[in-house]
Amino acid sequence: MGNQKLYKGSLQTIILKLLESNDKMYGYEITQKVKELTKGELKITEGALYPALHKLEADGLLDVEVAKVGNRLRKYYKLTESGTKETANKLDEMQEFLRTMQQLVNPKLSLE
């Protein structure tokens, strides 16, 4: 749980990656999926998630679809064409970042 600050800068990448693997998702589903995948290690707060989703939508990386689910309406998010490209870029950046961090925190391991 103490790692929340480390994850903060990766929120957009996490959202994009999840949408890449799940076609379309709604806000609450994203928070729960992250909790499930990280076994509770990472909890995305709604206060951080929705501004990030709205920003990605405003930047044209996400499309929105509203559908009726049971007795209420639900707003689904899915990747646009440029969102798919941006996901690949962000994941590359993330891999590069992880490699660099690995070299810094565990130089021996990264040489092997």
């Binding site: 729960q32 709604e46 405003a58 309406l73």
Partner: protein, 216 residues
């Protein structure tokens, strides 16, 4: 998604009334997303099905959620219009339109009277404005109260107002003494108008697709 409880129809109506009472100006899109989130969370976490108790713990989140929506919408349309505007000077096909407009106003300014030049500017900008209103307006009763529909036409007012202001203040005739200056002003009016029109048409399509369930 695991549920501990299923919200009742009565509680759902209560939640919607609560939001409308507390935030009368809340947009439809914000309301849809907020209600869905609150209900999903309530159904997954409640111990006793007490919605009022749940809402009292979420007041701060609800307030933040509501106020961020509107300003983002306006900013998005403005940002996209400016991006489209700059594309008129960077993309070859659109650049042709910009150059043609520039040359048209320059030679018009050189050959006819100031009154005619202003008249042509006003006619062209009115045509773009009129076409935007006619083609871009969403008239469906179910959609016209959405924030994204209300603010959709905001940017088209800028060039239209500018051209009227130039006429009312007679500023246009002072500017026309400098041929290139008026040409640049007219170019801005026409190209910004066209950019706003393109953004309106693009978003009209997106909005109609997004809310097709309300139209069926």
């Amino acid at each position: 998604m695991e549920k501990r409880y299923e919200i009742t129809e009565k509680q759902l109506v209560f939640l919607e009334d609560f939001l409308l009472r507390k935030y009368p100006g809340i947009s439809n899109e914000t309301k849809i997303e907020l209600i869905d989130h609150l209900v999903s969370d309530f159904e997954a976490t409640t111990e006793n099905g007490n919605l009022s108790q749940y809402l009292s713990n979420e007041l701060e989140f609800i307030a933040r959620f509501v106020f961020k929506g509107v300003s983002l919408m306006k900013k998005t349309y403005r940002k996209e219009t400016w991006e489209q505007f700059f594309k008129f000077f960077t993309e070859p096909k659109l650049l042709l339109i910009s150059i043609s407009t520039l040359l048209f106003f320059y030679f018009l300014n050189e050959t006819v009277t100031d009154k005619i030049v202003y008249l042509v500017t006003i006619i062209l900008s009115t045509l773009i404005f009129g076409y935007s209103v006619f083609k871009g307006m969403i008239k469906n009763k179910e959609l016209k109260n959405l924030d994204e529909v209300k603010f959709l036409g905001n940017e088209i007012w800028l060039p239209f107002t500018l051209v009227q202001l130039l006429g009312i203040t007679n500023l246009c005739y002072s500017i026309m003494k400098y041929c290139w200056l008026y040409t640049l002003v007219a170019l801005f009016i026409i190209i910004y108008g066209l950019s706003a029109l393109m953004v309106i048409l693009k978003h009209k399509k997106i909005i109609l697709e997004k809310y097709k369930h309300l139209l069926n």
